[in-house]
């Protein structure tokens, strides 16, 4: 493997959890650097002395790495060696290093135009208080478009790939008794004690290794190094088959009824393209009995002047890089701390052989073991003081320190400068309460620890460790063990006895009290002091927050929205609490008085592809096929999506235009014979002695007298009287019917029938079963259909008199038992052959064998639409839109108001507005120019010359060229249309032309129905 000559100047020769025997090479901004297995991209960058990892988006200030985990706001990089594998906004602190990793900084500023950058950053900076864009770019109005392009350019971090994602993702549904979130000390002991009860346990942690802070801790558990305890617990857990361990898995959402989403990154640590056949990322959709949140806490940085200069870091992050990755992110360290915590970083730094300039303790009289040790180590501790500002631009060059008063509100003097290149600040901890908020619970403020902890919840949730504000290791371990046992017991495993609680032994270190301090005072007022950053990624400063409150944006939600605090990809993990504290102070309120801070999913961002899983491309939505689909494909059908069904739309022959095909298909049906695959129509088998009465209640027309062997068309309305479905129902036997519905309406109609049966009329003896998929339906239509069918059956008397229009008969077709319905949607002599779907294809092919001599022509939905339109038959969903009654459709013949029972829709149709004379009514439309086809959706007006807005009379619902009639035909709504026969209406077109049409009967062909009654 080739390495360039660069050395990892900040890498220690020993220590850490990196694997020095596995050197890796990666690229950052075009330069390649060495690193080791076990590094994160961030630790590798620091090892190589890379200070600047980006520029801030508003002021374009140089930014460096601050943190070591999910809380990092600055080190947000573009990843990807190829266009298709680009990933924007990857947090370098969470990205494991792999060989060949390619990364670039994603400056807020898109162009490399330095003038523009410096203009915005330096000069413009002062012109950009929070909400500045609300206050300007308004005049002149016409220029806003230009302003906006300029603003948009400045936006965004990384970029989307412009090629399709080559990786695959999926989802696994999980069920568990106990879900433990976080595998730090509390989470590990919770999982262990729960697992030992035999309960199903899932333990998930966002990091590659379990252990959390124990992975870089000096503390001892049961006398052994903490890391050994982690190893032994992990080993025991791995051996339990009731426990599922998910490393590299972030619990991102905690939804209602204990449903959690876990984002598992399975290959992102190997390469930016997953190994062939492997799933890149997987979502676990978890339903948990009980949840133990052991999500830990996030260290708060202190807010001081120029605290964003590279070299300013979290004290805990400094320790993490030294102890876990063997990287010392600088040479000369100044630590600022409000508690004993910061001392630890100084000790680690000193142990790493680098210079500790000073420990600046904001407390006047710090006590605690660490102070004594600092003296033993000969470290300089400056008490009652703070770093009020750092110097330097691309790297810290010095720290300005000063004495502060006991409240931490003002500088009391003694200002001096210390030379250093790193400033670590320790401002206390913020429990990671995020998940506890997702189902609506608000966190509670605790004065004793000056932090929010998970609030009251209706979830089956327990919390353990630092998320509770319990920061000492021994307490974390005990809480974990106890909550694990309790969670398991609540889920029905084991009792809650203490025997199950194994408490590890840890020697406690005595800690002194912590000082409450968020915002370090400066000699100048906040508004005039150097920028003191609160939210780094969104460039929100302490001064900015003061401006917001000064302007009356006083609710913390207003402050956040006005300043954009917390709206970055880190969602304010570092900044929110500091921001609330500063807002509270500027309004003389307490933090809880400014409101609580509520977190939404996701804890950290999730790849869209992972959420979509397999449900994209051809699996985006089911394609439903009839039993004859293969034939349609082989015969060149074009398909129409109807609901989830793929229906043949038309069957073009070589060289045909669509209109040619339709003309040919229509003529074939009218002149001889055509065949349609009608299998997709919904079919509902209805049995029971009340079946007939039930039909009478759900259809608008009468069913009492429909005899066995007969079929009838029906209209179905809602309680509002508006038509929503239609179809033919056949009486198979006195207590047995089969109903057909529209293709798209099948499921809805079945549920509709069940709704009324189950909730309104349970006493009625009737059962409904779907048989849609069970029957294949072949509609043979045309003058020769009888002759054709006769060649395929010898047990059905097809003669005019014995097999009448609207009869059905059973028998065999092509040797296959069939139910044949003599019904017609084309107006021609027509037979619907229903056979069990396993034989649909066979019969279909047999029909074609004998059909050749009749020029049997397959036709699709479009021809079917033309043929029915020639007859004025409606299509529910095309000629109806949920706002028309049967009367509006001119189908009063299909309304039986004398029925004893007030059928569904009757009352609705009788409402004041529905009985008006002048409603929009469905009529036929004959264009003055018979060759002109009115585009569907055209709107009718009485006078095309009237000014806009025009008074519209109704729209065209169906419109075609009728090859059989040699002129166009159309149906549409016209206000009062049924009483306007012969009148002319006008259809203004987008191109300015106007189509004239005469209102007429919608029945254009064979009004007497002679053709279907032969």
């Amino acid at each position: 493997m080739h390495h360039n000559s660069m050395t990892q100047q900040n890498r220690l020769q020993t220590g850490g959890r990196i694997n020095r025997s596995r050197p890796l090479s990666f690229k950052y901004n075009g330069t390649s650097y060495p690193g080791f297995e076990g590094d994160t991209l961030a630790s590798a960058l620091l090892a190589n002395g890379v200070d600047v990892v980006g520029r801030s988006f508003k002021y374009s200030r140089p930014r460096g790495i601050i943190a070591a985990g999910a809380d990092e706001p600055n080190a947000v990089l573009q990843l990807g060696a190829t266009e298709a594998t680009q990933v924007p906004n990857v947090r370098a602190t969470q990205q494991e290093l792999f060989d060949g990793l390619v990364s670039t900084s994603t400056n807020g500023w898109p162009s490399t135009d330095n003038d523009m950058m410096s203009y915005i950053g330096k000069v413009g900076g002062r012109m950009m208080p929070p909400g500045f864009y609300y206050k300007t770019f308004m005049y002149p109005q016409s220029l806003w478009d230009t302003y906006e392009k300029f603003i948009r350019k400045a936006a965004g971090l990384g970029r989307s790939p412009v090629e399709n994602d080559p990786d695959i993702y999926d989802q696994l549904n999980q069920h568990t008794d106990v879900m433990v979130v976080g595998a730090g000390p509390a989470g590990l002991s919770a999982a262990l004690s729960a697992g030992r009860t035999g309960a199903r346990v899932i333990l998930a942690d966002e990091q590659a290794e379990f252990g959390g802070m124990l992975l870089h801790s000096d503390e001892k558990i049961n006398g052994k190094p903490a890391a050994e305890w982690v190893a032994s617990v992990t080993k025991e857990l791995r051996a339990m088959d009731n426990v599922m361990l998910l490393p590299r898995s972030t619990v991102n959402g905690y939804h209602d009824h204990n449903f959690l989403t876990i984002h598992e990154r399975r290959t992102d640590h190997l390469a930016d393209l997953a190994p062939k056949g492997q799933v890149r990322q997987r979502m676990h959709r978890v339903r948990a009995g009980w949840v133990v949140l052991a999500t830990g806490a996030i260290e708060r940085p202190l807010v001081y002047g120029n605290n964003d200069v590279p070299g300013c870091m979290l004290a805990s992050a400094v320790s993490t890089y030294i102890k876990r990755y063997a990287v010392v992110p600088g040479n000369e360290l100044v630590v600022m701390t409000t508690s004993d915590r910061g001392y630890k970083s100084a000790f680690d730094w000193q142990d790493a052989g680098r210079k500790v300039v000073a420990i600046v303790d904001t407390r006047a009289e710090p006590s605690g073991a660490c102070v004594v040790e600092a003296q033993k180590r000969g470290l300089k501790v400056i008490k009652g003081s703070a770093v009020i500002e750092v110097k330097g631009s691309k790297r810290v060059s010095g720290a300005v320190i000063a004495s502060i008063d006991a409240s931490g509100n003002k500088v009391t003097g003694n200002v001096r400068r210390l030379s250093c290149d790193t400033v670590a600040s320790a401002g206390g901890w913020s429990p990671a309460v995020h998940l506890s908020c997702h189902a609506g619970s608000r966190p509670d403020w605790r004065d004793d620890i000056q932090a929010f902890v998970p609030g009251k919840t209706v979830q089956k949730q327990l919390t353990a460790g630092a998320v509770n504000g319990s920061y000492s290791l021994v307490v974390c371990l005990e809480e974990g063990a106890r909550r694990g046992v309790l969670a398991a017991a609540n889920a029905g495993f084991g009792d809650q006895s203490d025997e199950l609680v194994e408490v590890a032994l840890v020697d406690e270190v005595k800690e002194g009290p912590t000082m409450t301090l968020f915002h370090i005072p400066h000699t100048k007022s906040t508004s005039r002091a150097p920028k003191q950053f609160v939210d780094y990624q969104t460039d929100v400063t302490a001064a900015g927050i003061e401006v917001a409150t000064r302007e009356g944006y006083e609710s913390i939600e207003h402050v956040k929205r006005y300043t954009a605090m917390g709206f970055g990809t880190d969602q304010g993990k570092l900044g929110n609490i500091n921001g609330m504290a500063i807002a509270a102070k500027s309004m003389n309120k307490t933090i809880p008085e400014t409101g609580t801070t509520i977190f939404r999913p996701n804890y950290t961002p999730i790849t869209f592809g992972a959420i979509a899983g397999r449900n994209c491309g051809e699996l985006f939505d089911p394609k439903r096929y009839s039993a004859m689909h293969r034939w349609h494909l082989e015969n060149g059908a074009k398909f129409e999506d109807v609901g989830q069904w793929k229906r043949p739309w038309y069957f073009p022959q070589p060289g045909e235009s669509m209109q040619d095909s339709l003309n040919r298909e229509c003529k074939a049906v009218r002149d001889s014979a055509g065949i349609l695959d009608a299998s997709t129509l919904g079919k509902i088998d209805i049995q029971g002695k009340d079946a007939r009465e039930f039909l009478g209640r759900v259809y608008s027309n009468a069913w009492a007298k429909l005899g066995v062997g007969k079929c009838r068309y029906g209209l179905m309305c809602g309680e509002d009287g508006m038509v929503f479905d239609d179809g033919v129902t056949a009486c198979l036997a006195d207590n047995h019917f089969v109903m057909t519905t529209t293709t798209g309406g099948a499921a809805r109609v079945l549920e509709w029938l069940e709704l009324y049966h189950q909730t309104e009329w349970p006493e009625m003896e009737v059962y409904f079963n779907t048989v849609t998929d069970h029957w294949s339906t072949l509609t043979i239509s045309g003058p020769n259909s009888r002759k054709l069918l006769a060649e395929l059956t010898d047990d059905i008397d097809l003669s005019k008199d014995s097999f009448k229009f609207m009869d059905w008969k059973a028998g065999t077709v092509a040797g296959v038992p069939a139910r044949v319905f003599r019904i017609s949607f084309t107006g021609e002599l027509s037979f619907e052959v229903n056979v069990q779907a396993n034989y649909g294809m066979y019969v279909w092919e047999k029909v074609f064998e004998v059909g050749a001599k009749y020029n049997l022509t397959p036709y699709g939905t479009e021809t079917m639409h033309v043929l029915r339109a020639e007859k004025g038959f409606i299509i529910a969903g095309q000629d109806t839109d949920g706002s028309v009654t049967p009367i509006d459709l001119g189908m009063s013949w299909c309304v039986a108001n004398k029925k004893p029972f007030s059928y569904i829709g009757k009352r609705g149709m009788a409402r004041e507005d529905c009985v008006k004379e002048n409603r929009k009514q469905l009529v036929g439309l004959k264009t003055k120019n018979p060759q002109l086809v009115i585009p569907e959706g055209s709107q009718a007006v009485a006078d095309p010359k009237q000014p806009i807005p025009m008074t519209m009379l109704g729209h065209v619902t169906s419109s075609y060229y009728s090859a059989c009639l040699n002129h166009s035909i159309a149906m549409g709504f016209v206000r009062g249309g049924l009483s306007r026969m012969g009148e002319t209406v006008y259809y203004p077109q987008p191109d300015g032309s106007v189509i004239e049409a005469e209102v007429c009967s919608p029945i254009f062909l064979d009004p007497e129905g002679a053709r279907q009654n032969v």
Partner: protein, 417 residues
Amino acid sequence: MQKYSGFGLFKHALSHHENWQRAWRNPTPKKKYDVIIVGGGGHGLATAYYLAKEHNITNIAVLEKGYLGGGNTARNTTIVRSNYLWDEAAHLYEHAMKLWEGLSQDLNYNVMFSQRGVLNLGHTLQDMRDIERRVNANRLNGIDGEVLDTQQVSEIVPIMDCSSDTRYPVMGASWQPRAGVARHDAVAWGFARAADQLGVDLIQQCEVVDILTEDGAAIGVETKQHGTIKADRIGCVVAGNSSVLAKMAGFSLPLESHPLQALVSEPIKPILDTVVMSNHVHGYVSQSDKGDLVIGAGIDAYTGYGQRGSYSTVEHTIQAIVELFPIFSRVRMNRQWGGIVDTCPDACPIISDTPVENLFFNCGWGTGGFKATPGSGNVFAATLAKGEAHELAKPFSMFRFYDGTLIDEHGAAGVAH
């Protein structure tokens, strides 16, 4: 009032932004007002503004139980369009559109109204029929719009998968160039600031717990924090709470309150310049000036006041976005949230008098409220001022659900927006 301008900004920069005035006062409520508006969201604040500006009624209080613009105004996906199907809805939304065009100057507050155009995609033959019908109606109603074919759509949004081999190929779209997006919070703040300047009292943290009536007429409200506040007329503009307020006044509404979810990606460089909406695959997306992809879909089917919905809805939405934009597969979802939308059976709002005299309701905007904000406030202000419905508001009476004169916009509003 302190005028906002580039020069003002420069001036304040010199004084380190220490002298900005409050955008609005924080007054203690009087005992009585001419008009009380319950609800300090976009619609309520707009109502107050136009009452003061166009009807010279300035003795107004806006009572907000939380913080201004903290409800759906703060939670929507900021789409503004007026290409509705039926005349009544089209005229109302177009009235709003005309007010949007110039709102920043009117309010002296940049609401960042960005007329980048909205595409409503069609994926089936019936979709395209509905689009033709709607666009024809829009044109004859004086609303801009055209029907685009697949080729034209892919020219406007080249990054969208317009190929014919997708599950539901893009067959075309309706295109309204004047439509677009606006900065949602700024709309509430802009109206608040302008209303405050005209003397309107904006009372935050003031929850109405009862509506006081005397022989069938409303005379005031009881509040949690400030006791009784009287008024000659009361307008309720409390999306997500309308049924609760109506119950206080003793009647019910034809409403169901549903969760409506939205989500954003991490900010990425500008890549999508228009708003793309698809009823059929159930997703819509635009890119904010900050760079986030702002995404939403349909409502959750159950009623819910929790400002959150079901994860499966988010999954389906993202599936739709990845289906339309396969290149977004590796982009990451940052945050999700929910609002509460009061939906009417005909997907049209209620702007109406009520069974209680002097009590008026403006509600039921479902998923279409934000885009109507100025228009809604404008016609509701006129309605409150005159005590009878503004011409454009008349068709939206709550009593249409008795006589059946519904305005069924489901075709146009089938998916959240």
